[in-house]
Amino acid sequence: MKLPVKMTINGQQYSHEVEPRLLLVHYIRESVGLTGTHVGCDTSQCGACTILMNGQAVKSCTLFAVQADGASMTTIEGLAKNGDLHPIQQGFWEKHGLQCGFCTPGMIMQAHQLLERYPKPTEEIIRHQLEGNLCRCTGYHNIVKAIQWAADHMATK
C-alpha cells in the first residue's frame, strides 16, 4: 500500500507515492536523490541525518516520509546560496571542523539551529547543543571552533 506525499526541499517541490514505513531520511536519499543527509545509526543517537523541517532541526531517521507531507525542508545541499557557502559551512572549512565528513552535514544543520537560538553561544552552550550529534573523528574540538567562527561572522552581517 502506498500513500502520496508532497513536500518542498531546498525550495523545490517533490511528490511521490511511498510506503507508510519509509523513513524520511530514505525518502530524501533514495526517492529525491539528495545523498548529503546520512544514516549513521538506528536509534536516533548520532544525528548524521539532521535536517531542518519547517525551520526546526529534526532527525530525519526518526520520522516517516508521510509525517513530512506538506512540510518545507532544508538539507545540507540547500544551505549554500548561488554558490556562496553559508558562514557555518565556511567556518567548518576554516577551522578544520571535519575529517571524514560523514557526520558533517548533520553537524552543520544542527549548528544552524543552535546559532538561530543562540547567536553568541558560549563553548558550554555549543557543546550542550551538539549533544545529539556524534563525531568519531575530530574529538569535537575544531567543531566548536568552527561554530564560534560562524557565530562571529554571522554577527557582523
Binding site: E19, R21, L22, H26, R29, G33, L34, T35, G36, T37, H38, V39, G40, C41, D42, T43, Q45, C46, A48, T75, I76, E77, L79, A80, L85, Q89, F92, W93, E94, H96, L98, Q99, C100, G101, F102, C103, T104, P105, I108, E123, E124, I126, R127, H128, L130, E131, N133, L134, C135, R136, C137, T138, G139, Y140, H141, N142, I143, V144
Partner: protein
Amino acid sequence: MATVSQERLFGKSIKRREDPRFITGRGQYVDDVKLPGTTYAAFVRSPHAHAKLKAVNTTKAKGVPGVVAVYTGQDVKVGALPCGWMLPDIKVPPRPVLAQGKVRYVGEPVAIVIADSAYTAKDGAEAVQVEYEPLRGVANPQKAYDKGAPQLFDDIPQNRSFYWTIGDKAAVETAFRSAAKVVSLSFVNQRLIPNAIEPRACLASVSPATGDLTLWVTSQNPHVHRLLMAAFVLGIPETKMRVIAPDVGGGFGSKIFVYNEEVAVSWAAKALGRPVKWTAERRESFLNDAHGRDHVTEAEMAFDRDGKILGLRVRTHANLGAYLSTFAPLIPSYLYGPLLSGTYKIPAIFCEVWGMLTNTAPVDAYRGAGRPEATYLLERLVDRSAHELRVDPAELRRKNLIPAFTGGQVYQTPVAFAYDSGNYEPTLTRGLELARYTEVRKEQEQARQQGRYIGVGVSTYIEACGPAPSAVAGSLGAGAGLWESGQVRVHPTGAVTVFTGSHSHGQGHETTFAQLVADDLGIPMEHVEIVHGDTALIPFGMGTYGSRSACVGGSAIVKCLEKIKDKGRKIAAHLLEAGEQDLLFEAGKWSVKGSPDKVKDWGEVALMAYLAHNIPQGMEPGLEATSFFDPPNFTFPFGTHVAVVEVDPESGQVKLLRYVAVDDVGRVINPMIVDGMVHGGIAQGVGQALWEHGVYSDDGQLLSATMMDYALPKADQLPSYQTERTVTPSPVNPLGVKGAGETGTIAATPTVANAVIDALAPFGVTHIDLPLTAEAIWKAVKAAKK
C-alpha cells in the same frame, strides 16, 4: 604555464581540499553510489552465541514479493575468509562466508537475501526460517581455556589459537629475585567497538560484457581487499576485479578487513547478473565489525632500592573472538609485546600471550591496535608503583626514562624493537608545565579539605607506527609486505597527478600529499591532483592504518619526485646546453649556476618531455615515475599527556577539566591536520577510559548492541584540548616524519584513568578497571570505605 611558488608549503596549516564536497553534502560514500538495476541485500544472522546450524529454510523468504534470491552457506561455495598473519604453531579455524554446520557468535551471517528494495530484503530476511540447536557459549578469554569450557572447534583444544612469548624469561626471574620491591596488578583492557559514523557498505556489479567484477566497498586498503577476495576467496583473477573505496566515513581499523558481507554480495552479483548493494544497520556494525582490545592481564614490575625498574613480567589472555579476523594474531603479539619497554629503561622483560577463541565477534586492529594495551599496562603499573613506593608519579617516570638518542642512533629494547630516535624528557617536563602540575597538586590538597576530589594523571607513551619493513614483517608471520606505492605522473601542461596506495578516510591526504609535492617541485598546489582508492588506477598499495600514510606513502611519493627531478634536470641541462652538475633547481625552475638568466621552468621541461623534439639522445619521452617505499624500520612517535579531573564520589561522575598533550611526531607536513588527528585520538582514548565497553554476557550475548547502550563520547562530555609538539625527526624515511594518527588514543586512556584513581586516593582506592563509569567509581569508593 606553471607559475612559481615561493612560499614553503611543508609545515603550513593549509585548509583542506577535501572539504568543499563534504560541507555541501556532495561527498560520495559507498551508499551514495547509484547503479541502474541495483538489488539490495539483507543478512540473516545468528541470534545464538553458539549453536549447531541444523537447517535453513528459504522457501517462505523466496516467496516474499520483491525478493529476487536467497543464498545460504550451501550455495555460496567460496574459500574461507583468510587470516593474513601467522604466528608459530597457530591454529587457524576455517571461517566461512555464510555459516556452515555451526554458528559461533551472535550476528554471524547465515543467509543473504536479495530483493528489489532494502526494505523488502529485510522482509525477506525475517521470513527465512533457521533451525538451531543451541550450545553453551563462553565469552571470557580466561574462562575459554578452562577444562569443561564450551569448545568452538573440535580440533582446537581449550580454544587456544596460539601461545606466544617475547623477551627473556630467565633474565626476568633474576631481576625479580634481586628486586627491592615488586608491584603487581591484575586488570582488564576492555573490549571496544569502533563505531565509525559511516556504517560498512558495499556495492558489487559485474560487467555483462567482460564478466569483470567492480566492488565499491568501505575499505582502508582497496588493493588488499582485491588480492584477498580475488585470489583467496572468490577464486577469480586479480585482473578481473576492480575495488573502489570512494569517500569513506572513518575506519579506525574496522574497515581494513575482508568481511563476510562484501564476499557474499560479490558472489551474489555474479550469480544474479545484477548489481547488489548492502549497507550495515548500526546494530549489524555492533555485531559484526571487528572489535578491539579485550585483554585480561596480570603484570608485575620489579624495582631496585632507588626506584629504578629492573624487570617486567606480563601474562595476557587476549580475546580473538570466534574466528581469526584478517590481522587478528598480530595485535596482541607483535604490536603489543615489543612495546612493553615504553619510554623506560627496562633491562628485562618477559611477556606471554594466550590467543583465545570465544563466542564473541572477531577482534582485530582498532586505533592503536596493541599499543594502547601495552601503554595502559605500563602507565597503570608505574602509577601503582609510585603510590606504593611513595614517590611522585611524574618523578618516578622521569627517573626511569630512556636518555635522549637522536641523529641515527637507535635504542634497542629487550623486546625486539629498536626505537628510531627519541628525546622523551622534554615532553614530560613540558607536559607538566602546561598542566601546571605543581599548582594542581596544591589545588588538590585544598580541594580535599573542602571535600572535593581533584585528580591529576600523567602518562608517557611511545608507539610503533608506519608499518613496516617487509622482510621483518614476513619473518614475524605477515602474509603481505608492508611497503607503500606511489606514482607521480607529470602531464604535458606541467600539471601533476599523484597516485597513492594510501587511502584517506578522514586523514586529508588530498591536501597533505599535494602540499608535499607542490613544495618539493616548486609548483602551485592547485596543479597537483591526488588520486587514491581505486585499484584500476593505482599500483598495488597496502593502504592506510597504523599511522603509516605520511611515513610510508609520503616517502614513496618523495622517491618518485627524486626520479622525476632527475629526469627533468637532464632535459633542462640538454635544453640549456649545460652540464647537469651546473644546474640549480629551485622554486620550479632549473637555472645555470652563475647565469641566472639561463633558465628553464617546470612547464617548459614538462612539455619538452612529451614533445620529445629535443631531449637527450637515447632518453625515452614522458615524465612519470613509480616507486615502492619499504621502510627500514617502524617510526616511534612519543610524548606525555596530562589530565586534570574532578570526581564526585557520591555520584561517581567524572568531569574532565583539562587535557594537555605534548607529542613528538617528527616533522609535520600540515600542523592543523596533525592537531586534528591528536584531538580525535584523545576523544577515543577518553572514551575507553570513562565510558565505552563492548559487553558480552558470560555465554556470548552482546548486551551493548546499540548506541543507546554503548556510550560513545559526546561534545558536552569533553573539554577542548591543549596540544603542543616537540620535533625529533625520524631517520628512517626521507621526510623525517613519524606517525600521528594513533598517539592520542594510546596516551589518553591511561592518562585519564590515572587521574581518576589519583582523585580517589584519599578513599583508599588503588585501582578500578576500565571503563571508569560512574557506577564503577561509586562501587569502588563504597568498597574501599568498608
